[in-house]
């Protein structure tokens, strides 16, 4: 049972490959929708179960299920954003859907295992698909993005394998468990550090974030959205598992430093960005910094982190749905006067920006509220203060987007993509829902996870 969603997803992904060859991209697309949709249903059927499958290679628990649902939901929404966008910017390949499905499958693997090798395999599936996705747009930036992503991704893979080797050297196995956690040896330390580094790469944490701005900027907008939510969710959930079995207490300082630096770096550098996707990239780095605080929280961390991921995912997807509607005219200059000519788009983008900035009554606020409060409760008060101050910095650039749309004049061009609009509505719904009635998710999180 436990591997049902994964099986469905892989099956449909392969089907999509074949259909794309034989029947054309529409079929590939449909198969992808169907695969992700069916997997989502499968995942929901697992709601509340836990257990190990395939000789412990895969293991299902509450965190995994919630993360799986989120990943599949996000992937589905990312597909919706892509749908319609792709033809407008001249991406004719059906692969875009297949690759997204595959990538989602990789992400799903990452969140349903506690086995390092399996996680590595999942991560690589995800990465390989992502490299290809990054390069799908027909311009040099897209290619540059793909190359940078791939090369740096390889480096991250090396880190992971090295870390895995050290882990194996310490404990003699690939399964994450407590045996190793107690070990005080330098090798355990090194292994922890390397594994964390590798996943921090996926999660865009300083100083492993460098790919993020360039890849976000170069990739097609819906793909960027996909990266920013699916990859990040998978990365953070595995980071969570790593820190559950934290290799060595010293690693906490590493996380702490990465968290603080990400908050500072992401927010500060975002201030000067003129390209909205780059801006969103730095925003993504800074949010990663906030989320990393959740890794410091022992058991309490899981639910706040998952809530944050959910909130972040929806608001980011919503924002990218709007960004995609501008069809790669990503300079902020093209957002001038958007509120006049494309009022609905501006309303949505403004709403998501406000949520990203963390204003009530949106999910972004509550996510920050819970996260910061829990971090404070754990005693990291200076960290919370830094987070609060950097949040203030972030307000500047999020609201700057609003300002450009609403308070300056210009002649923007955009197109209303039906499925994009649908995504905006769905995302906005969830952002509000999680912002006003978070209990729907929280009850479950607290009950199963927390």
């Amino acid at each position: 049972m436990g591997i049902l969603p994964l099986g469905i997803l892989v099956f449909f992904a392969l089907m999509a490959v074949l259909l794309d060859l034989w029947a054309g991209r529409w079929w590939a697309k449909t198969a992808s929708y169907a695969g992700i949709g069916a997997a989502l249903v499968g995942e929901l059927l697992l709601w509340g179960r836990r257990g190990n499958y395939m000789a412990g290679l895969l293991s299902q628990d509450a965190v995994g299920i919630v993360a799986g649902v989120l990943i599949l939901l996000f992937a589905f929404l990312a597909l919706l954003i892509t749908d319609g966008y792709d033809l407008k910017v001249n991406i004719k390949e059906g692969e875009i859907y297949i690759l997204m499905t595959l990538s989602a499958a990789g992400a799903l693997v990452m969140v349903t295992t506690r086995h390092l090798l399996v996680a590595f395999l999942g991560m690589e599936i995800l990465s390989v698909a992502n490299y290809a996705l990054a390069g799908l747009k027909r311009d040099t930036l897209s290619k540059e993005a793909a190359v940078k992503y791939a090369v740096l991704g390889t480096v991250a893979s090396v880190f992971f394998v090295l870390g895995m080797a050290f882990y194996y050297g310490t404990g003699g196995g690939f399964l994450l468990d407590t045996r190793v956690a107690a070990s005080p040896s330098p090798m355990a330390l090194a292994s922890g550090l390397l594994l964390f580094s590798s996943l921090m790469f996926k999660a865009s944490l300083f100083p492993f974030h460098f790919w993020t701005p360039d890849v976000y900027q170069g990739s097609p907008a819906p793909i960027t959205a996909f990266f920013s939510v699916v990859t990040k969710t998978a990365g953070f959930v595995f980071l969570l598992r790593l820190s559950d079995f934290v290799i060595h207490p010293e690693v906490k300082w590493f996380i702490l430093a990465a968290s603080v630096l990400s908050m500072l770096y992401g927010n500060l550098v975002a201030l000067k960005q003129q390209d909205i996707k780059r801006l969103m990239a730095y925003s993504s780095i800074s949010h990663a910094g906030y989320m990393a605080m959740g890794l410091l929280l022992e058991k309490q961390g899981a639910w706040v982190l998952l809530f944050y991921l959910a909130a972040y995912g929806f608001m980011n997807l919503g924002a990218f749905a709007v960004i995609s509607s501008l069809l790669e005219k990503n300079s902020l200059l093209n957002y001038r006067g958007l509120a006049k000519d494309y009022s609905p788009l501006a309303v949505f983008l403004a709403f998501f920006m406000v949520s990203l900035a963390g204003f009530p009554p949106t999910a972004g606020f509550l996510a920050k509220f819970f996260l910061f409060a829990e971090v404070g409760r754990a005693g990291f008060w200076p960290l919370v203060v830094i987070a609060a101050i950097t949040t203030l910095v972030s307000v500047y650039y999020y609201l700057r987007v609003v300002l450009v749309m609403y308070m300056t004049e210009g002649r923007p061009t955009a197109s209303y993509l039906p499925s994009g609009i649908l995504t905006m509505f769905i995302s906005a719904f969830f952002v509000l829902e999680l912002g006003i009635f978070p209990s729907t998710l929280l009850v479950f999180l607290k009950y199963f996870v927390g």
Partner: protein, 607 residues
């Protein structure tokens, strides 16, 4: 019976309200009836109350401020002191309302004028009838407001607007003291009713009483134009002349005297405060009189004369003779408003206020001339006229307390006579200078003047009954002076006054021109440069200092810090983006460096 008091207070308020709200709907004619009638009713009711109410009465209306132990009621108090004041105020005000119908007849702001005038009467009566300090302060500020509005009545004239503002602000300085005095009294006594304060004044420490009394007196110097806050009154002559007569001569400016009289036991508790009152009064009297000697603007002469006369009143109260001071207030109300009205009549006819452009008006404006002369004789203290009796009482009482005050007072009386007759000679005698055709004013203006002229003579004849009327207050008493001594003093001041009149006659009629040279003349003409000194000491430093602070501190430093921190953050972002060089190798290098660094740090810590 005490309900009558609402009939005293409220008709003018009602009049003002109607004029403000419905003024546009009313014809000019109905305004001319309504507004004086409102005050007339008030006057009649006061008269009625005066005769019907024996001793004290008070009318409780509603609680005004009632917060945690502070209890200030909106109620009215009728006692000998307030009854005299109310009568004077409503009576003079009524006459001036009538006069104004003629004087302001051509003005486009006719309704506004009468609305303000009614409002003033209301505020003044409120001040007079207030039973406690906060209520008095309401009236106190109310008359200040009306004064502001009426001085700046012709607001299109920059000087008028400035003068109004100046009056208000200078008064505010006084009010600052007044308020602190109220606070201090409340802190000390826990109650702000006059009765309570007066009754318990003796339980206060003298130093506390001094502080409270002097703070209140600061308010009085503002309102009653005494040193150091007298500077607004000469400028206030920018207002219409009937306003000067009513507000800046007869009623409002004497409020300070009234207040000190009201709280006399408090002042008496502190000998120092009383001395300060007396000395400030007498010095102001002399000081203002010297300035009046050389002014050429007819109204400014009268303004300084007013300051001077109020100085007398303070001197009177200050030497302990409340009834004398109040009596001078009473008589002064008639002859000074008459002087203003007569001057107004001249101004109305000629359209100028500069005495150098007048002269020879005696024939053309006989009534004006005669009433003016009566009033001048009254103010100069010529026996038989009202001013003689009141001023004489003050000087006699001053003589008992302090010879110095008496001496200054007598000299000032001489100066008064001199400048008044200088005015008369320059205006009504000699040859016309610069005017073509003048005419006597209409009956609506001369009527009130004649009434006032009558009172300028007879009001002085009743000092003993005045004194007797005030007696029940409990703190009214006069020192007795030997008959012979009194006559001597009287003779001295009267003689000096006659001498001064003669001198004025010699200089301005016989010789034909005044002295226009010399340092002293220039000093007096420029009013001792007090305005300039105040400007340099307060106004300019405040304004320029604020400008500097605004530019360099507020915008420069405070806002600069705010903006600087913002800019610093932006700059920080720009600097940090240096990491994002675009080169793959750099990226990988930073990643590796991060791991290696962390490894070293942690190994270092762990091992």
């Amino acid at each position: 019976m005490s309900l009558l008091l609402s009939g005293v207070l409220f008709p003018p308020a009602l009049g003002a309200l109607i004029l403000i709200l419905l003024g546009r709907l009313l014809s000019k004619r109905s305004v001319s009836w309504l507004s004086p009638a409102a005050v007339g009713i008030s006057f009649l009711t006061s008269l009625l109350s005066f005769f019907l109410i024996k001793g004290k009465a008070s009318l409780y209306l509603f609680p005004w401020l009632s917060v945690g132990g502070l209890q200030v009621d909106f109620s009215l108090l009728w006692d000998p002191l307030s009854s005299i004041m109310a009568l004077t105020v409503s009576g003079v005000s009524f006459l001036i309302h009538i006069y104004s119908v003629g004087y302001m007849g051509e003005d486009p702001g006719y309704r506004r004028y009468f609305a303000y005038l009614n409002l003033f009467t209301f505020s003044m009566l409120l001040l007079v009838l207030a039973p406690n300090l906060p209520m008095m302060f309401v009236g106190w500020e109310g008359v200040g407001l009306c004064s502001y509005l009426l001085i700046g009545f012709w607001f299109e004239k920059e000087t008028a607007a400035n003068a109004g503002k100046k009056a208000f602000i200078v008064n505010r300085v006084g009010d600052f003291g007044f308020l602190l005095g109220i606070f201090l009294l409340f802190t000390l006594l826990g109650n702000l009713n006059f009765d309570y304060i007066n009754y318990h004044a003796n339980s206060l420490a003298p130093s506390a009483a001094t502080a409270a009394a002097l703070l209140l007196f600061l308010g009085a110097t503002g309102k009653s134009a005494q040193i150091p806050l007298y500077i607004w009154l000469p400028d206030a002559m920018e207002g219409p002349t009937p306003v000067s007569a009513l507000i800046h001569a007869a009623t409002m400016v004497t409020a300070g005297v009234y207040m000190v009289s009201r709280l006399f036991p408090l002042y008496a508790r502190s000998g120092l405060a009383l001395n300060v009152v007396a000395w400030v009064g007498i010095i102001t009297a002399a000081f203002a009189a010297t300035i009046a000697l050389v002014q050429n603007d007819i109204k400014r002469v009268l303004a300084y004369s007013t300051i001077s006369q109020i100085g007398y009143m303070f001197a009177g109260v200050g030497v302990g003779a409340v009834s004398a001071g109040m009596f001078h207030l009473f008589t002064h109300a008639f002859f000074k408003s008459l002087l203003f009205l007569a001057a107004g009549s001249v101004i109305h006819a000629l359209g100028t206020q500069d005495m150098r452009e007048m002269g020879g008006l005696r024939k053309k404006m006989p009534i004006t001339f005669w009433v003016f002369t009566i009033a001048a004789l009254a103010i100069s203290g010529i026996p038989g006229f009202a001013g003689f009796f009141s001023k004489d009482q003050i000087l006699a009482q001053a003589y008992i307390r302090s010879k110095a005050i008496w001496a200054i007072g007598v000299v000032t009386a001489g100066l008064t006579a001199f400048y008044m007759f200088r005015l008369i000679f320059m205006t009504f005698f000699g040859e016309p200078r610069g005017w073509k055709n003048a005419h006597e004013s209409p009956p609506v203006m001369t009527g009130p003047m004649l009434v006032l002229a009558f009172f300028s003579v007879v009001s002085g004849w009743f000092f003993s009954s005045f004194h007797g009327w005030l007696k029940p207050l409990g703190y009214i008493h006069l020192e007795e002076l030997p008959e012979s001594k009194e006559a001597l003093l009287m003779g001295a001041s009267v003689g000096l006054a006659l001498l001064a009149i003669g001198l004025a006659w010699w200089i301005y009629l016989k010789r034909g021109k005044g002295f226009h040279t010399g340092f002293i003349h220039k000093l007096l003409l420029n009013k001792y440069y007090v305005d300039e000194i105040y400007n340099a000491a307060f106004v300019i430093p405040y304004r320029e200092g604020s400008r500097l602070i605004s530019r360099y501190f507020d915008i420069g430093i405070i806002d600069g810090t705010v903006e600087g921190s913002g800019r610093l953050t932006l700059q920080g972002g720009r600097l940090m983006s240096f990491f994002q060089s675009g080169f793959l190798k750099d990226y990988a290098l930073w990643m590796a460096a991060g791991v290696v660094l962390a490894l070293f740090v942690m190994l270092g810590r762990a091992l």
